[in-house]
Symmetry: C2
């Protein structure tokens, strides 16, 4: 058995953080922009985002939610009136104070002191307060409810430590904002959005997630309940991949979102908000990447199949290209998981074998190489990116199959790759959630033990609030742990709280997190 | 012949500007946000933008251009190094100077003086300079060229006078940015983009446009050549609906976009940029709107067909809804202009006749009403929005046709509406371009004459530059006129310049403009 020579320099087990950066570079997904904390998303990274957007947007529209667009600038007064909300965001916002630049007389530019805004504007960190203004105009009567809106937008949070896709000063997201007649309807929407995120994460991104409620200390500023989906990365840390908030009447009171009910009485609306962002791409990398680069789940792959003709810069190339073009068209006429197959014929200069490794690092789900002999024999050489290596000989696991079989089976193959990536991630995740940890000492021992990637523990607690909860949070912080959520589908509590010793009321997931 | 009672209060001929605002409100497309110069784009307006985006993005991708995403913030130094460019934008940019808010001690918030940025950041008014930085990193050799990128983004220009869709502080657009080995290749790209805009405007938005080069004084700051597509609004004014710039090596010098050519010599790239924005929606309104509201061309209509069941809040409603749902599904299984037909079954509360007028004002291309008797007879009542009125009786021109015929003919009908809106606009445009105006006095007389909506004049000129051109521009400004462009397809010059009396070298369009 030969040694496999992996396509990346850094292995996950050696330095997970450095490996993550190498995948992003090697797959040509994004890079630092030179502007503090902002990244440039390159075509392969942006193409994955476009696919996530398309699939999520289809789900959003199917739920009867309508897309709108709201201003990027939020006046200070909007933040002033929502005290609890601004407290949570106040430390990290970009503030526009001037609307003109002038020469400084030394060849440079400065904000024009004559063009100072009377009221500074904040670049939106999230849009509850500005959308609340619109809702207050749009909602008059119970007939206007529910009001279901969404926007795709960029938002800015002045993060001190940034990391590509996971935490950037500017990021792209969707934010759903809805208004309802009562608590029950708003809570139902909160859960509908959460379930939509779970389905998108699991079915489209092949990310197994655990949906549950965040503890009080992790709530969105101004929210009454915050729910999340949490995914486990290959280093055992948790990634919050999406959140859905029930905001009660807090934002409705601040913005004046009121309606007349059927009896003619004025009522405040109950509102929700929910969002997912480009952060999900970080989750895809850290879940599906391997020591050869990224593996993109077929549902979100910009190209699901890449055809590499083995060109030799001879006159025979023309016939080979024509053959490959026909192959491309026939593959593209197939469908997989309800959509036409997305196929790229890569005619760029360079040897097929070199380009193969570019596509391996990018993680195209299926790579097909075709040389003159394959053409003559009606065959193709096909690699599944998710099962790249032949463990017996340490070489890429090419399947040499008849062209017609490759075409006919492509839909099934892509479906299988999608499922297979999900199953692999779910099995790893499930194997790394430890239950039966019955004391804080055991938790600390577990995470300070020899396991490199210890994963998560599920423990029972009495759901302390206020100062008691703060004490728990502080204690966990010593081991860099956080409470991820109260899993929606966890077993009922049946023991004692590991923090207070009181009877437990529910189970929580405790983990290190991004 | 009865008098038609139109669905809007204001007629185009009475007050075009007020009519424009009424259409936007009546069609529920957008509204003022309360944030200076920024609008809220509501679902019907945003749905039209999503359609334009989708169709344009397909064209962009088909041209081999790849989508990316670049930072919203641009450091001051990027502007400082491109003197001509900053000169053009310096007066109107939002400047971020602080990254934190703190309490002012009086219940309000202020930018934290401790959190002042060392270098202020500009909210992008356009992205040449920041994308130039990326191109300088990405381009090393002739093999990296051409580099074809695009982004869909929001941009901010601090406009003093704003008008919804036409000129807003923040707007949405796409901006293509490309780098090439030489002038010829960059010019070819400039024209390819221009032609893409012409095709999208004419084929998708049904906006007849004239493609041509802008005069020197109307060039994009830093450009060597600026080309535009110009559309004529119903008030005879011109709307610049898209621009494509050849930037020479100006931005390449500023950002250091260089490559080694085949001989190993270092060369500067020639770059281009090109963009269209939400402004196009303003063009759709002012081209296709009528005294009953908007008429949306089917290609960009979020819903092409709206079915209105005549519900009576009786038990029979259920059968009618089932019948209409089947009709919806069968219409949606048809295709028009290469895409599945987009059909909405509007089940919202309210009388069909009232809702009919909502959809007339919004401009859904085809409205189908179905009552219990129609259902019994297998018929539907169908309106073409573009031919709303029966001139003989002043009533809506319903066609009562067999359901099967309505289904079978829907693709043809939508195609015909699309073509018909385009033809109507083109005929009006062509009828309102006046040629044979041979002196400045005649131009001034033409525009100060009795015609309410005088349209455009095509005149000949000697293409003055510098101070001589400035004089022409100043003269025209007196009559609120501008030079729109030098039509690509105009006849050769054969007379004298109306400004200088010298032999003319080309023809230009002169008009009032948005």
């Amino acid at each position: 058995m030969s040694q496999i020579r992996h396509a990346l320099n850094i292995k996950r087990e050696d330095d997970f953080a450095a490996w993550y950066q190498e995948v992003i570079t090697a797959a040509d997904m994004a890079e630092e922009s030179g502007v503090r904390g902002c990244m440039v998303i390159k075509p392969w990274g942006y193409g994955i985002w476009e696919r996530i957007q398309r699939l999520m947007d289809d789900r959003i529209k199917a739920a009867g939610v309508q897309n709108c667009y709201f201003p990027i600038f939020i006046p200070l007064r909007n933040f002033e009136r929502e005290a609890e909300h601004v407290e949570g965001f106040a430390k990290e916002m970009a503030v526009v104070t001037h609307h003109r630049l002038i020469s400084d007389g030394k060849g440079g530019l400065i904000p024009d002191p004559e063009a100072k805004l009377e009221e500074p504007l904040v670049v939106r960190p999230t849009s509850e307060t500005i959308i609340g203004d619109a809702m207050a105009r749009w909602v008059q009567s119970w007939r206007d409810l529910p009001l279901l809106t969404n926007q795709w937008a960029n938002v800015v949070r002045w993060e001190m430590r940034t990391r590509m896709f996971l935490r950037t000063t500017e990021f792209l997201w969707q934010e759903g904002h809805t208004a309802h007649a009562d608590r029950a309807d708003a809570l139902a929407e909160t859960h509908r959005a959460l379930e939509m995120y779970r389905a998108c994460a699991e079915e489209d991104l092949a990310l197994p997630v655990i949906a549950g409620e965040k503890p009080e200390n992790e709530r969105f500023p101004g929210a009454v309940e915050t729910w999340s989906i949490e995914a486990m990365m290959q280093d055992g840390k948790a990634l919050q991949a999406g959140t859905s908030h029930y905001l009660g009447t807090n934002f409705a009171h601040a913005a004046g979102i009121k309606y007349q009910d059927r009896e003619g009485t004025e009522q405040y609306c109950h509102t929700t908000s929910w969002g997912v962002s480009t952060r999900m791409i970080g989750g895809v990398i850290m879940t599906h990447g391997d020591d050869d680069g990224l593996r993109v789940p077929p549902r979100i792959a910009p190209h699901q199949v890449v055809i590499l003709p083995m060109l030799r810069e001879t006159p025979e190339d023309e016939a080979l290209l024509a053959y490959c073009e026909e192959l491309r068209a026939r593959l593209a006429s197939q469908s997989a998981m309800g959509e036409p197959v997305r196929v790229l014929l890569d005619k760029s200069p360079g040897k097929a074998a070199g380009k193969r490794w570019d596509w391996v690092r990018k993680g195209a789900p299926v790579i097909i190489e075709v040389g003159p002999r394959d053409m003559a024999e009606g065959k193709v050489a096909q690699i599944r990116r998710d099962r790249l290596w032949n463990p017996d000989n340490g070489k890429p696991a090419f399947a040499f199959i008849a062209r017609e079989d490759a075409i006919g089976a492509i839909g099934t193959l892509l479906t299988d790759i999608q499922q297979s990536l999900f199953d692999e991630a779910r099995e790893r995740r499930d194997a790394n959630i430890t239950r039966g940890v019955n004391s804080l000492a055991e938790v600390e021992a577990f995470f300070s033990g020899s396991a490199k990637f210890p994963g998560w523990v599920e423990v029972q607690w009495s759901k302390p609030t206020g100062a008691a909860l703060e004490k728990v949070v502080e204690t966990l912080k010593g081991t860099k742990l956080t409470i991820r959520n109260v899993p929606r589908d966890a077993a009922p509590a049946d023991g004692a709280c590991i923090f207070t010793g009181e009877p437990a009321v529910e189970r929580i997931l405790v983990a290190r997190a991004y």
